[in-house]
Symmetry: C2
Subunit: 196 residues, 2 copies
Amino acid sequence: MYIQVLENLQRDGKNVISSELLARTCDVNPSQIRKDLAYFGEFGVRGVGYYVQDLITSIKQALGVDRVWKCALVGVGNLGRALLNHREFRLRGFHIVGAFDCDPFKIGEVVSGLEVVCSRRLKERTADLGIELGVITTPPERAQRACNYLVDAGIKGILNFAPARIEVPEGVTVEYVDFFHHFYAVAFNVTLGSQD
Amino acid sequence: MYIQVLENLQRDGKNVISSELLARTCDVNPSQIRKDLAYFGEFGVRGVGYYVQDLITSIKQALGVDRVWKCALVGVGNLGRALLNHREFRLRGFHIVGAFDCDPFKIGEVVSGLEVVCSRRLKERTADLGIELGVITTPPERAQRACNYLVDAGIKGILNFAPARIEVPEGVTVEYVDFFHHFYAVAFNVTLGSQD
């Protein structure tokens, strides 16, 4: 969240931010902000605040995301295509370097400069391309199979956009990117608001 | 999360689940599960567990999401198209009934059965169609303008897929759907894991 807020400020041409304003923008209390940022090695300058670029750099370093992560995407449907075309990924250091699908009609197609490759070749391509993260954008009923290919290829971090739980062995991290969680949350809040 | 897990179980043909198994699947402790589900009015059956369908119904009722929510989508780029084509939305009760864009080349185009309409007509269409939620899928620099159109149309709940913070008046709920948060989290975990 801090990175998102700070990159937004930077986009608006702001180079410096006070912890109070940062706190308000993030909806976090100022003492929590100071504690969090101290953890990243950033203490701010009294009377000035934080330098936005320095803060972004420090947070990214602390999280280990100040470098390029090569990603494989499995499932070249509508969502997969949207992600392959999403310029923001490259800006954030996440380079999708392999696109995989098991549909023979999709294999060989070029999407956003990448040739779609059969999912069975994931292991071989992962080694060749130095892929470290996997992105699952299959329909829910094919998510586990996509996951198995990624795990078999030795990938330790998976982003699952499919609305399905998947099982992974120990040592593999899964993050669920679940749109509907957010839709339910907004619908719930609107319902509450309308009862006031 | 409970809804996602339970719908997944249902997809796998399971009709009943114990609180222990549900707890393990959700990575939540069993006493928390029992507390949460009691809040939804579901107490389970001793020796049997919870009926999956009843539990889904109770949770959706408690959250006010056991009905159809009509949504407007603003920004018919790659991501917007992916969401418009995403069959899962309709299954979950979120019907995207209006697609808006300010690009004259997109206005009039039909995407997933919807004619793209000029964003300036959002207010008028919101009233006609009974739209309650807005979905922003514009580039970041146009998110605030899209938001302003939605707020002006009287919409109280916004899902923002654009990687940009937006400002809304009191009484309007915004949920940020931020892919990159999840990417950073996975990258961070993989980095930690590789240091073991």
